[in-house]
């Protein structure tokens, strides 16, 4: 291969952090992904919180309604902050033989998918994604548990990644 991508180095030390970035670091995803996720999570959360607050105000006393408002604001702002951090925690890296995807803050995970094991690459764009100019790329192997998806890519980036993965997969295809 001509391009100088980092190769896997099993002897490298990952002392302390098994999720350390290889070589030149993780490629992050678009911060707009946080907006998309906030719409789909915080939106409903606000509605539920409002409904609970109203119910409390009617059934109990205004004092309790005030407590409910404070609690709702706390939960919603925590969610908003959490989603921002989660999106910043997503990263991927193409190496010469495999793709690495990292995600999660409290429950962290890292998946290494060898190109030779890829069976198909999906690009998906939901209606909200489309509005914000985002797409996600998902890799499938013969294992159902692999689940390597990279959300929050720009459509151009996603298409380029898909083509690149497809060609790399073809070069290194290894059957089952």
């Amino acid at each position: 291969m001509s391009d100088p991508r980092p190769t896997a180095d099993p002897t490298r030390s990952f002392a302390g952090d098994p999720f350390l970035a290889p070589g030149d670091g993780w490629v992050g995803v678009s911060p707009r992904l946080a907006t998309v996720r906030r719409i789909s999570v915080v939106g409903p959360a606000v509605l539920i919180a409002a409904a609970i607050t109203v119910a409390v105000a009617v059934m109990a006393s205004p004092a309790w309604a005030f407590v409910a408002v404070v609690a709702s604001v706390a939960v919603v702002s925590w969610l908003t902050w959490l989603i921002g951090r989660q999106v910043r925690a997503v990263g991927y890296c193409l190496r010469s033989d495999d793709l690495l995807v990292v995600s999660g803050i409290a429950f962290r995970r890292l998946v290494v998918v060898p190109f030779g094991r890829m069976q198909l690459v999906d690009v998906t764009r939901g209606p909200i994604d489309r509005h914000f100019g985002l797409a996600s790329v998902q890799l499938h192997t013969a294992a159902a548990t692999s689940d390597a998806s990279i959300p929050g890519l720009t459509p151009g980036e996603a298409a380029a990644l898909r083509d690149r993965l497809a060609s790399l997969g073809e070069q290194r295809s290894a059957g089952l």
Binding site: F19, V111, V112, G175, L176
Partner: protein
């Protein structure tokens, strides 16, 4: 998988004449509504049934009419069903009464051919043939029913064609000779099923709790317990009926598994298709030296197929026998001899029961993970069969500086997780496994199970 087969690809085959299923098929199909009628009769009540103006005669006429109707439909289905081999050497099946359906079973992608005999078919000496093709998502192909010898003959022919062996028209394909490796004695099977920790716990625990609750006077809680007392026995009974008479035989196209008391199954495990193996030894089996083996076999994915794919390789056998069978599916591998690396002592705060058993190790062919508390388990995955590798860490694990490494295999009962590894070592373990998988794959031969084997 895309390797050209010498002889098979270039040849143009001769198409064969369309054939029918066995003519008794409609009768068997018609009789299959028997249980439905029985359930209907029971739920309506016999008195209710008899209260029609014609008494028993009326009931008899209605039952006869229903059987006849179902038989007529089964006859239509049968008469529209035909199969033949086309000029490409593939099996074609044409079927459908209202909607015509033509299916092509691509012989070059054949995974296995199973012969099953449900109880009713067995009485008539019939069998169902299930050719399984790699990557078929539209469900299993079922050819029901053929006579037992016809099913065996067609099976042999399909496997011969898959291997690129040419069979003259009219001549029958050579049936692969098989030698029986293991047959599980009935007593051993029953004992082994009873000596499972979970089943024993339920069998003893449920009645005991019921008695205790009654003694205390809490009858309303004791009653549901009593109703559940039978369940573990049903579960054990069900497993016993399914796995009854389990035999493992070796034939050139792989290991052949046969089992079943009421309905008889036969499954083939092509050696190259085994993706991962799990060895289990429930604590109560240890004194007897028994082990159980289950496997992940690559094949068509999808709900219905998943349960037809072989998963139990050996329900119970002495360790030496199990090793011999394992040597057929993963040649040159002895998972129990692989040196294992234990987890650090702090893992006891995350996995107190399993801690002493958690370990991982590898040799140049396989990765072995040991785990389990009441059921000590060894999961074995060949490096060349590793799909992807994951590292995961929850908050509690992070506090303890631990992480888990998962090796993904094709769908099946075996899931490989090296849990509670030291965090500083987990990533190296994962990266090293990816590297081993890559070099093992570049060394491995293409997946052609019948041609790969040296002539014996």
């Amino acid at each position: 998988m895309t390797t050209a087969l010498p002889g098979a690809q270039a040849a143009d085959w001769q198409a064969t004449r369309p054939q029918r299923l066995h003519p008794v098929t409609p009768v068997v199909r018609a009789l299959q509504i028997g249980p439905v009628l029985g359930i209907a009769a029971v739920s309506l009540g016999l008195d209710q049934l008899r209260s029609n103006p014609f008494g028993w005669l009326g009931v008899f006429v209605v039952v006869l009419a229903m059987v006849a109707a179902s038989g007529a439909w089964a006859y239509l289905v049968w008469s529209r069903y035909s199969f033949w081999f086309d000029a490409d050497g593939d099996l074609r099946i044409r079927s459908g009464v209202l909607q015509l359906n033509e299916r092509r079973v691509q012989v070059s992608r054949l995974q296995s051919v199973d012969v099953t005999q449900p109880l009713l078919a067995r009485i008539f000496g019939l069998a169902e043939l299930r050719p399984e093709v790699a990557g078929a998502s539209s469900g299993a192909t079922r050819m029901a029913y053929l006579s037992q010898p016809d099913a065996d003959r067609l099976r042999a022919e399909l496997l011969a064609r898959a291997a690129g062996i040419r069979v003259e028209q009219g001549a029958s394909a050579p049936v692969a000779p098989e030698t029986i490796l293991v047959s599980v004695p009935t007593g051993t099977l029953l004992t082994s099923l009873l000596l499972q920790p979970d089943m024993l716990l339920l069998m003893v625990g449920l009645p005991l709790t019921a008695v205790l609750l009654t003694a205390v006077g809490a009858f309303e809680f004791a009653l549901p317990m009593l109703l559940l007392v039978g369940t573990p026995f049903f579960v054990v009974g069900g497993r016993f009926v399914t796995l009854f008479g389990f035999t493992v035989a070796e034939s050139p196209d792989g290991l052949r598994l046969r089992f079943g008391l009421t309905s008889h199954r036969s499954q083939t495990v092509p050696p190259g298709r085994v993706q991962a193996v799990r060895l289990e030894q429930p604590v109560l089996w240890r004194r007897r030296g028994w082990v159980r083996m289950v496997v992940n076999v690559a094949g068509a994915s999808g709900g219905e197929d998943a349960q037809n794919r072989p998963s139990t390789l050996l329900p119970v056998a002495p360790e030496a026998v199990a090793r011999a069978v394992l040597a057929r599916v993963l040649p040159g591998v002895d998972p129990l001899a692989v040196p294992l690396d234990a987890v650090p002592a702090r893992a006891r705060w995350r996995a107190p029961l399993q801690r002493r058993r958690l370990a991982v190790g590898n040799d140049d062919q396989v990765l072995v993970v040991r785990h389990g508390w009441l059921v000590p388990t060894w999961d074995v995955v060949p490096h060349a069969r590793t799909q992807s590798v994951r590292v995961s860490q929850g908050p509690w694990q992070r506090w303890l500086r631990l992480a888990s490494v998962h090796v993904d295999s094709t769908p099946g009962p075996v899931r490989i997780t090296a849990a509670q590894r030291p965090a500083e070592e987990a990533r190296q373990l994962a990266e090293a496994q990816v590297a081993r998988a890559r070099s093992a794959r570049s060394r491995s031969r293409p997946d052609r199970w019948l041609l790969d084997r040296p002539p014996e």
